[in-house]
């Protein structure tokens, strides 16, 4: 297998992150873990944005990933973190394969609202489920990796961080290739002119279906990692504000590069952490102004700061 420049850079950054994890304070590791895990969910949002669809309910798969990891450990004796994560992805794929049949018939605001509706249905079910802790959710059981049990606290945080960075790397490389592969480019083509895609003898619906399922699996992985990192899941994961946050981060980063959601997620976490600390009652306002600034000054997201020089030459 050959790796291109982007992939090698991603690997270098990932290795640097892992090493950095051994020397940095716990709170920073935690912040980065959550940011990267959320970035994976955002990757799912971005994959759909490339095809012209905005999912207002990606929290659905985030929640499915998280709850599967939680329930696997609590109720089914699946304590291996990797098996639990894989199971979460699998459940998300099955759910997406069913919902996708209906969702891929819709576009624009109808797709957005219908995806929102499905996530709110899950939210409603979880809130009503006493055995799953209702609105409080429940804690994730202590877990192992290949039979090894990291010490609870700093040790397990370190381990989740490493797992998140490494799975982030694998997913980033896969998405980087996916974007340039037939399905990725045809998703873009659908966004630009669906009628033409149809007249090339392709089914836009089945391409969007494949993309929807792939996006769901990536988002579920992010949800599973978040559950491992926080040690807790609750129905809020499927709530619409959570999905809104993913769209926020997606817009913040832009669609320009596979690394953009990771950078945006870190910026988002930092801004939010400091906003809550210094202006506890108006932190949403700060986020609002941040988004306003990005949309007005950087309509293609933070990534355009990085790519500005390159595109400037061509223009």
């Amino acid at each position: 297998m050959r790796f291109d420049k982007t992939e090698i850079s991603l690997a270098a950054v990932a290795i640097a992150c892992v090493l950095f994890g051994f020397v940095s304070p716990g709170w920073l590791i935690f912040l980065m873990t959550i940011a990267f895990a959320k970035a994976l969910v955002v990757q799912g949002v971005v994959m759909q944005m490339r095809s012209g669809l905005v999912s207002f309910g990606q929290g659905l798969f985030y929640c499915i990933g998280g709850y599967t990891v939680g329930m696997g450990g609590q109720f089914f004796g699946i304590h291996d973190a990797i098996a639990a994560l894989a199971l979460g992805v699998l459940v998300a794929i099955v759910v997406a394969m069913i919902l996708g049949l209906l969702l891929t018939r819709y576009r624009d605001i109808f797709f957005a609202m219908l995806s929102l509706a499905f996530s709110m249905i899950l939210f409603g079910i979880l809130v009503k489920s006493q055995s799953l802790g209702s609105t409080d959710g429940f804690n994730v059981h202590n877990w192992t990796v290949f039979g090894w049990a990291p010490e609870v606290g700093a040790g397990s945080q370190q381990t989740v961080f490493t797992m998140t960075v490494l799975s982030g790397l694998v997913i980033a490389v896969l998405i980087h290739r996916y974007t340039k592969a037939g399905i990725g480019v045809i998703c873009e083509a659908i966004r630009e002119n669906e009628v033409r895609v149809e007249y090339l003898g392709l089914s836009p619906r089945w391409v969007l279906y494949g993309n929807y399922v792939a996006a769901a699996s990536v988002s579920a992985l992010g949800g599973g990692l978040t559950a491992l990192a926080t040690g807790h899941v609750d129905p809020e994961m499927a709530y619409w504000t959570t999905s809104g946050e993913f769209i926020f981060i997606a817009l913040l980063g832009g669609l320009g590069h596979v690394a953009a959601p990771f950078i945006a997620a870190i910026v988002f976490s930092v801004v939010r952490t400091y906003a809550i600390e210094f202006v506890p009652h108006t932190w949403q306002m700060i986020l609002g102004f941040t988004l306003l600034g990005v949309i007005v000054f950087l309509p293609k997201g933070l990534w355009s700061l990085v790519s500005r020089e390159k595109s400037g030459e061509r223009a």
Binding site: K180, A181, V185, I186, E192, V195, Y199, G201
Partner: protein
């Protein structure tokens, strides 16, 4: 089975507007047929119905003797009938070559790959050959929005030909193209088409262009076919002169691109 395309009493109504009325069209394999008719005569509607974009109100459509009524545009494309559009339908924010590369990949397989790159060397080389054949290779890396109308029309037609169709329907290939570019454009298209041995039906307002290429003309008026035959005969027809070509001073109308 000599007729590649046959429609039987094809009708299309948009509310009170009758856009197609009992259209019975037979096109033989290898024929080059011209379609004339003023704006709103129902030419585009005919192409839209035949290629599955619009569902006829009534009637039957046979392609190679088999019904394609109710089939999707993609199924009809895959069956071997391609079309171009009155307004070029491209991927506006992609480069010209990427437009062709997407079309090439689509022609190879209806299922896109998940991980192997779409822009393979082989596809890019083939796309360049096609762009050269159509005389637009200098726009290779331009974004579609930065390319002039005439070149866009050519790219649109080139994309339609990529799947090696048996039949090609061209909807006003020269609309939006300046007078002196028209013949050049049509020569390019017709050369490509002849090499592929494709049956062609094309809509055109300019009678000189029509007479130059076709062996047969269909004249549309208000959803009906009012004349069908050799160009000289159709153009000499009283009703065609009255209603379509507008040789009477009172009937003379400009042909806007619609």
């Amino acid at each position: 089975m000599t007729n590649i395309l046959e429609t039987r009493s094809l009708n299309k109504e948009f509310g009170a507007v009758i856009a197609a009325k009992d259209l019975n069209v037979k096109v033989a394999k290898g024929e080059i047929v011209g379609v004339i008719g003023s704006n709103g005569a129902g030419k585009t509607t005919f192409i839209n119905m035949v290629t599955g974009y619009l569902k006829p109100t009534r009637g039957e459509i046979l392609f190679n003797g088999k019904s394609i009524l109710g089939h999707s545009p993609r199924a009809i494309t895959r069956a071997g009938m391609a079309r171009s559009f009155q307004v070029a339908q491209l991927f506006p924010e992609m480069s010209v070559i990427d437009n062709l590369v997407v079309a090439l990949a689509a022609a190879e397989s209806p299922r896109p790959s998940f991980l192997s790159p779409l822009r393979s060397d082989a596809r890019i080389a083939r796309a360049e050959e096609i762009l050269t054949e159509f005389g637009v290779v200098n726009y290779r890396n331009s974004t579609v929005t930065a390319v002039p109308q005439g070149a866009r029309k050519l790219v649109d037609i080139a994309m339609a030909l990529i799947g090696n169709p048996q039949m090609l329907l061209l909807d006003e290939p020269t609309s939006g193209v300046s007078m002196d570019e028209k013949t050049g454009l049509m020569d390019t298209v017709m050369n490509a088409v002849r090499q592929h041995g494709v049956t062609v039906l094309f809509v055109e307002h300019d009678m000189d262009v029509v007479e130059r290429y076709v062996s047969r003309v269909l004249a549309f008026y208000s959803g009906e076919i009012i004349a069908d035959g050799k160009p000289s005969a159709v153009l000499a027809d009283e009703r065609v002169r009255d209603l379509v070509t507008g040789h009477r001073p009172t009937q003379k109308k400009g042909n806007g691109a619609s």
